[in-house]
């Protein structure tokens, strides 16, 4: 762990990413403390104001403070990111471990199902799932989780197959350790590095997908603050009130960028230990 921080310190780009990620996390966690107003609070005499001292990012068509809504939007994005990636990652871990360890027919069945899911474009598949389940925050998270599952399954399965070749797995079998224990005690800890990297990269993807779904009206529903919802609401005014679209878009770009930088540097840091 110590060497981890040391290496991150030397990787300037990764450090910037890490700081950016922390910033977004702090904004999301401490939204009520940081935001000057409530997200649905309307200042009816201050609609469509450009950024000024009172409203640093300006206001939208209902006079709501854009900065406040972006801060609260960070919370939604993080929530969706974490839970959706959680669903995808845990599902992927379970299926990947089973497919990789037992191989044969089980592997074939799991991987062919994942291939089918993988064949659809992300957004299209998420749209279909949300359309079936009905648009809501929970369903968005489930949809994104399912969309992300094949990537995790493939990564886990691949790592399991390579780790399984190590003699310490045969050794554990020879000792008489049960397959279940071998999977959890001997394989899982040794495939964590690529898995963690994929989780960070998956977070940015999930946040982006949530924004896209919300923009299309199938994710978070207005008046709840979400960056995608804000983009959708402001698209009609963007010509004469560009701040209404620039700041939410900027928030998305910033978050995705930081998560990707952090994920890339994590991969570099963790990879040599993979062996």
């Amino acid at each position: 762990m110590k060497s981890f921080w040391k290496r991150l310190k030397n990787d300037k780009v990764g450090l910037i990413g890490c700081i950016g990620v922390l910033l977004v996390v702090i904004f999301g966690l401490l939204a009520p403390a940081i935001a000057p107003y409530r997200p649905e609070q309307m200042f009816t005499e201050h609609t469509m104001q450009s950024p000024n001292g009172k409203f640093i990012f300006g206001t939208d068509e209902f006079g709501r403070d854009i900065f406040t809504r972006i801060v609260y939007g960070a919370k939604v994005s993080l929530q969706v990111g974490l839970i959706a990636v959680g669903i995808g990652a845990i599902g992927g871990l379970v299926f990947g471990l089973i497919a990789g360890y037992f191989q044969g027919i089980v592997d074939q069945v799991i991987m062919r199902v994942m291939d089918v899911l993988f064949a659809f474009p992300d957004i299209l598949l998420a749209l279909t799932i949300v359309a079936v389940l009905g648009p809501s925050l929970t369903n968005t998270m489930i949809a994104i989780g399912i969309v992300f599952m094949p990537v995790f399954t493939r990564i886990v399965r691949g790592s399991v197959i390579s780790v399984k070749e190590n003699e310490y797995i045969t050794n554990a079998v020879a000792i008489g350790v049960s397959p279940f224990t071998i999977i959890f005690r001997h394989i899982t800890p040794n495939i964590m590095a690529p898995f963690i990297v994929q989780v960070t990269l998956g977070l940015s993807g999930a946040i982006l997908t949530e924004a896209a779904l919300s923009f299309l009206g199938l994710g978070v529903q207005p008046p709840n603050p979400s960056w995608g919802v804000m983009l959708n609401a402001s698209r009609t005014y963007m010509e004469f009130a560009p701040w209404t679209i620039l700041f939410p878009a900027g928030a998305i770009v910033f978050t995705i960028f930081c998560f990707n930088l952090f994920g890339d540097s994590l991969r570099d840091i963790l990879d040599p230990q993979l062996k």
Partner: protein, 339 residues
């Protein structure tokens, strides 16, 4: 003699199917182990030697069912190991342990030595918490690991020390039979001697039976009571160590032994240099597997695979040169002329 054996292997076969074509049909088999039989007596060291790819490791792994054999019998104290279900066999593994070749990949890098040594006991629920700690400390002391080293991880140790950890991990279960699969081949010569002596001391102390798999003829001579020589998945010759090294009968064994470097520079030795390579086990020659490289091959070797037969007391050979024995009932002078 026979009923005394702790382990009896009869006609063990391991074929790997080779698949080809669109429908992945099995078109051919690689006969990694093709009808190997031998028996091991309690507290002795039986060695399997042969060049790489001759099936000696596969033999070891199929005995422990780390790979399922294609056919044959493996009798451990009279019970056929292949009759057990996988689940039941897992319980039996306590008595049959294995030590692997590569000390660098045979220990989980994420576990401390203490965790590694504790695992076998926990797996078989052999002792309580306190007792387990005591067992771990005892076995660590036996193999020469200090108390302080117990909380370190495998990457902090040298190859020899890691092999000590592997040995401790296998022996903590108090097994009866230990299969040593090239257990010292990856180590430096000086460390090899240490580990071999440790293994021999532990054998004495814990009444262990060893199946020693190796390609190193000097090491085999040093440790074993009896030796089996394998070639291309088949047993070529099997007898006492002394008898084998003094009086090898099979042309393959003779050429192997002639390749051992001598420490005496004045000793004149005739080296038998074999021509060609080991044949592809997927496409073995007809008749005797060794005939393509055998300096004494004749017509019969092309047609018929020689039977593995006892030509002298406790000396088994699979070679047509000794076929007359059966008919004449005595060892031919041919044996002498071969040396």
């Amino acid at each position: 003699m026979e009923n005394r054996a702790i382990l009896e292997v009869k006609g063990l076969k391991k074929y790997y199917p080779q698949k080809s074509g669109v429908f992945r049909r099995t078109t051919n088999y690689v006969k990694a182990v093709d009808g190997v039989s031998f028996s091991i007596h309690p507290k002795e060291t039986f060695s399997l030697v042969g060049e790489s790819g001759c099936g000696k490791s596969t033999t070891g792994k199929t005995i422990l069912r780390l790979q399922e054999p294609t056919a044959g019998q493996v009798l451990f104290k009279g019970n056929d190991l292949l009759d057990y279900s996988k689940r039941d066999f897992r319980r039996l593994r306590k008595d049959l342990q294995m030590i692997f070749q590569d000390p660098y990949s045979s220990l989980n890098p994420r576990m401390s030595v203490r965790e590694l040594l504790r695992e076998p006991i926990l797996t078989h629920r052999l002792a309580g918490r306190k007792e387990t700690e005591q067992l771990v400390r005892d076995i660590a002391e036996k193999v020469g690991l200090s108390k302080e080293q117990l909380d370190r991880h495998p990457h902090e140790f040298s190859g020899g020390q890691r092999q000590r950890i592997s040995i401790a991990r296998a022996l903590i279960l108090k097994p009866e039979l230990v299969i040593l699969d090239e257990a010292v081949s990856a180590l430096d010569v000086s460390i090899q001697a240490q580990i071999l002596n440790l293994l021999m001391d532990l054998q004495e102390e814990l009444d262990l039976t060893y199946l020693f798999i190796s390609h190193d003829l000097n090491v085999v001579k040093h440790v074993s009571d009896r030796v089996g020589v394998m070639y291309l998945g088949q047993m070529m010759e099997m007898t006492d160590t002394e008898e084998l090294y003094d009086n090898p009968l099979h042309p393959y064994t003779q050429s192997l032994l002639s390749a051992i470097p001598s420490t005496d520079p004045f000793k004149k030795k005739e080296r038998i240099i074999l021509k060609g390579d080991v044949p592809d086990p997927a496409n073995p020659p007809s008749g005797c597997p060794f005939r393509l490289r055998c300096p004494k091959a004749h017509e019969r070797c092309v047609i018929e695979n020689p039977a593995f037969q006892e030509v002298k007391e406790d000396h088994f050979v699979a070679c047509h040169l000794y076929d007359r024995v059966e008919e004449a009932g005595e060892v031919p002078d041919l044996v002498g002329s071969l040396r």
